[in-house]
Amino acid sequence: MGFLDTLLGRSKPAKPDLDQLFGLSSAAITLEAGTGFKPTGQGSVCFRAAEGGAFARLQQDVQELLDADEGPKVEISTDKYGYTWLLATHRPEELPDLVTDLHAVNSTLESGGFGPHLLCSLAGFRGPDGQRLALVYLYKRGTFYPFAPLPGEKRDNALELQVRGAVGADLPFEDDLGRWFPVWGAPGL
């Protein structure tokens, strides 16, 4: 942040790079080879619904866009903090299609001027013993991090670090561990 921005009290947003999302497809192959985790075919996008009709119309458009192809419809839910989750479901072997859906949601909201309201996108994975894992994409930072929940709101930190070791080279990983924000109970996890 520049000196003038400090003086004037404004902060410059980083330029998000949505195309990073497409890296998920190849990273999933590396992840399966390295750790045995397979994609579930489910993924979701989280955003804060802005007040007003403009956003509601845009959300309607996104939903219709994703429901245009055959297969399960997208599910929309609101968590207890007031954030909206859009859950897309595909067959596990169709990960590229899921990634395309996630990208479409992100880019539609972004081009509608609601980029600042996008929180994250995630794709779900299952381990050989049924462990849950998500690769989370932080829109604002353009980086990925793993989130592995255990029962009782605990995190499997060892597994998360192991995943970073496996696919850290394939994706732009979040360096700051303080930003590996937990997303408890996220749809698609």
Binding site: M1, T6, L7, L8, G9, R10, S11, P13, A14, R48, A49, A50, E51, G52, G53, A54, F55, K80, Y81, G82, Y83, G112, G113, F114, P116, H117, L118, L119, C120, L138, Y139, K140, R141, E153, D176, G178, R179, F181, P182, W184
Partner: protein, 297 residues
């Protein structure tokens, strides 16, 4: 941020710079070395006071830092704000006070702490708490604590000097010859006292003006962050009502940090002496933002 606010902010920053120059210039009369030393000393003290300020503020408010195990809900709200803003997560503190309020301390995004009172959590619903936290997070992002502390520092120093100087003149706590000596030195220091008065008044007024602008900026940044200006407007209304109903003693407890709170109690004549804009002014601006969201981003 709109252009008009930016220009006014630049103007106040210019005034603050003038106040600093006014404080340091007399030392330059004694020679360039003394002048440079005065500049360095002023900067060093300002930086130190800002660095220690977060701990002082937390101590004054009887607040404690909370981990994500202590307060999972508040942390989740803050996590989400930081995810959508791209900011590093500030530390979170809770104060046991019953007044509904919140403040940010710490000099920049790295060392910041955001504090809410129990009274705020009890009176506001979760969406409103999120809006208040977004307002405080915006303060952190804009480094407002640092800027306002630097801006108000000359005024504070002038005030301290004035208190000491009037003590000399009135001869408080001194007798006989010592009292006469104090009076004489007070008279000798008269030009300095007059300068300190001007500096104190000018410094305080510009510091407060700057603080009001930063509050408006934090309101709009925070509202854009959550996308819900109406939540912040209703939260501000509740905080104001809570502060108005509070007893004088309760309000006094808040005084050490009142300039940093999300809303402060009563301003004074013409609003020139208040650290925050009026509730009407703030809700008006938030309503304008709501209208923008309604009509298409």
């Amino acid at each position: 941020m709109d252009r008009g606010l930016g220009w006014r902010m630049l103007a106040t920053v210019g005034l603050v710079a003038l106040v600093y120059a006014g404080a340091v210039l007399p030392a330059f009369l004694a020679g360039p070395v003394w002048g440079a030393a005065a500049v360095a000393a002023a900067l060093a003290v300002a930086v130190c006071s800002v660095r220690a300020a977060d701990r002082l503020a937390l101590y004054a408010m009887d607040a404690r830092l909370v981990t994500s195990q202590d307060e999972p809900e508040l942390h989740a709200v803050l996590d989400r704000l930081c995810m959508s803003s791209g900011l590093p997560k500030p530390r979170l503190a809770v104060s046991g006070q019953d007044l509904p309020n919140a403040f940010a301390a710490g000099s920049g995004p790295g060392s910041a702490v955001v504090c809410v009172t129990e009274g705020l959590r009890a009176r506001l619903d979760p969406a409103e708490v999120a809006a208040v936290l977004a307002h405080e997070t915006a303060h952190v992002a804009n480094r407002d604590v640092l800027v306002t502390a630097v801006a108000s520092f000359p005024g504070m120093c002038a005030g301290l000097f004035l208190r000491w100087w009037t003590g000399l003149l009135t001869g408080r706590g001194r007798r006989g010859a010592r009292r006469a000596a104090a009076l004489v030195s007070g008279a000798v220091l008269l030009p300095l006292g007059a300068a300190a008065t001007v500096l104190g008044v000018a410094g305080t007024l510009t510091g407060l003006a700057l603080s009001r602008h930063r509050e408006l900026c934090a309101d709009s940044t925070g509202a854009l962050l959550t996308g819900r200006p109406a939540d912040l407007a209703s939260a501000l209304g509740k905080v104001h009502a809570g502060m108005r109903d509070a007893s004088r003693g309760d309000r006094r407890a808040l005084r050490p940090v009142s300039a940093r709170c999300v809303a402060a109690a009563g301003g004074g004549a013409l609003g020139l002496l208040s650290s925050h804009p009026t509730l009407e002014r703030r809700t008006e601006r938030l309503a304008a933002l709501s209208f923008r969201f309604e009509s298409g981003g």
